[in-house]
Symmetry: none
Subunit: 217 residues, 4 copies
DNA sequence: AATGAATGAGTATTCATTCAT
DNA sequence: CATGAATGAATACTCATTCAT
């Protein structure tokens, strides 16, 4: 009892308050929804309203737009990573696991990453690196299995899949994405068919890694 | 061809002055470049500056952003239509013509249509209908030939190709697209491989027409 | 002396707790430093941070900015009064005592009073009257001695000295005052030379008392 | 003279419109008044209102607060320079000319320079250098004449006078300066008396040039 | 017709102050 | 008592659009 109290007092970061944590979660959730729907330029006041907090509360949690975007980006990546892990764990067929991940990632609105990554924010932040490394290694594993099974053409790399996946699932700005999804899954399916071995054409350029994307975005 | 179409769209009534016409062309050209590079939200003053005219001149030619966007959309579509016509005329192999068109359309920045179409503008305008009908029928012809030749899977429609094409070539907001292109052509190639007959999987949803897109955007 | 005066000013009623008193002192000290350095507009949160307390604690001790400013003003005046008392007690030469006080008051940042007095706060508060009366009578005594000794021109009053002293030592907003001090003491010295008898010119206006300043500020 | 200098500062390129020039003048005039009265932090909207223009017009003429402050600073310096020129031209007695300039500069609110110089703005701008060089050389000339005539003590430099002058005439924030002026001229007179030869005391520190001030401010 | 200038409405951001733990 | 969190009101700044030359 005494030691616990002393430890709490001596800690420099004294355990965030429960309601503040709840607010933070609600803000991130609201931001994710609105970024996906309207792009990363949405007014902060709208995000705050949707989250049910005052606008200044948002600034208490995230010093600027960049910080909020980063948090949402990491959150989306993490959710996609979870999907990748499930696909790896639960799917028997190697290419089937890849398919499952791609469609699941689409449902997690991974396409929203594109416009968000393009905005001004610190692309060197460790949280971001961590989230990217995680998703990258998981997708690499998915692709490696499919390649080993002879189901995936050999001239594609992680970056190829991730960028195309992001682009094909990228929301149309200003539109509710409701009936767009049905098309998206068709396009993904077609793209996946193009990924299958044997290769039906020779690809231009060189295989893209996530590193290349970091340079560009 | 494109100039003819554009001329038809201009006011036929009071015989436009030569310098006014030149200004109009320069504005559309500047807008196309900037829309592609920065998205359709670019400040009007910047477009005017790039075009080398005063901002009010821009308003003289285009009552609002919607009108300018529409003009640019039509212009991009027209240029893509030209590419489709050339592919039809000059390419022997049916699927090869389709491939050629897809890559050429990418170079014409057809991906910029997506964010532009999403903005608020009158999607019922006759100019737009005309340009869309033109590109649609041309692409349909390209696809029909490939299908007839047994090179194209039978469960895809024009809308599938056009939307995926737009999405895959869509510029990343805020970034010079320079080194992005090399990836884009890879993705297009993979997608085209997925379009080839025989179909490697069953597609979800139903084949998309351009009509469906009009509803959505 | 200053602690005694400060203690008298605190609520005598409910017997304040020891840590609360310590907090109050730390807040006043922090506020004095920051007012001098950045002016009286500094964010309350910053003062609280420098004092090492939460912002709400600050409000517990001082209902609003006016109250805090008043406390700091009194504190600065008290410290200057102490200097005046020492000069009176320890300095043999009458004008030398005046000189010593002026330079010592400058080092106590008495110039910070000007911007602080200008802000909105209750200039009728008894604490303020008390502190002002104290410094005024002390400076009057210093001047009276010098005048009696024939060292001080006869057409100047306390207000003349106090205002000029405050103005000449007033910090430049936004700048660390480090190397400014060396100039300040030169200016004070020149002003003091102008105060010496015999008068070298006829002064415009009338001799200023501290009462006049109260009206104005 | 001042108009000439101001004209030189304007863009030589596109020939400014008449009404725009009038607006610019009104904005600078309004800003000068309000900076003197309330300090350089006054809301831009208030300046615009006083100038009788919309707030955005203010931004058209001055990209940010720094630019407006710079213009006002130059304007105040130019007006003081004019006073120095008149004193040099019209006053027979050397020290009399210096006295006249000092009091006239006070009436031109030269004290407002202090808080304005402290704000964030580009202290390297050529306009500023020009205005400072002008006032500096004029005051140097005034002081040189008085020194040559044996009327000015030899251990003071331009910076000593300019800083003390600015400080002594510096407006009290938040107060209309109406009845403050009568005191100011007394203080200036006392300071001037202290400047007269023969020196009545030895000055601490070293003579200040305007260069030193540039470093500090 | 063409243009530079003016404007008001909208957004981001800060900060004093109140509230809940 | 002490505190971190929440909030709304204020301000800076941008940009589409209209006005005057």
């Amino acid at each position: 009892m005494v030691t616990a109290a002393a430890a709490e007092r001596s800690r420099p970061v004294p355990r965030p308050r429960a309601d503040a944590l709840r607010n933070r979660e609600r803000i991130v959730a609201a931001a994710r929804e609105m970024f996906v729907e309207f792009g990363p330029e949405v007014p902060f006041d709208e995000i705050a309203r949707r989250a049910g907090v005052g606008n200044a509360t948002l600034y208490r949690h995230f010093a600027d737009r960049a910080e909020l975007i980063r948090e949402v980006v990491c959150s989306v990546m993490d959710r996609a990573s979870e999907q990748a892990e499930r696909a790896l764990a639960e799917e028997g067929d190697a290419f089937g696991a890849l398919r499952r991940f791609v469609h699941a990632a689409a449902d997690e609105r991974i396409g929203a990453l594109c416009p968000m990554l393009a905005g001004d924010f610190d692309k060197e932040h460790p949280d971001l690196d961590e989230a990217r490394d995680r998703i990258e290694s998981l997708v690499e594993e998915l692709m490696a299995r499919a390649r080993t099974a002879g189901q995936l053409r050999t001239d594609v790399a992680v970056g190829d899949l991730m960028v195309a996946l992001s682009q094909l699932t990228r929301p149309l700005p200003g539109s509710g994405c409701v009936n767009f999804d049905q098309f998206v899954h068709r396009h993904l399916q077609l793209f996946l068919d193009g990924l299958q071995a044997p290769a039906r054409s020779e690809l231009p350029g060189t295989a893209a890694t996530l590193e290349d994307l970091r340079q560009r975005a």
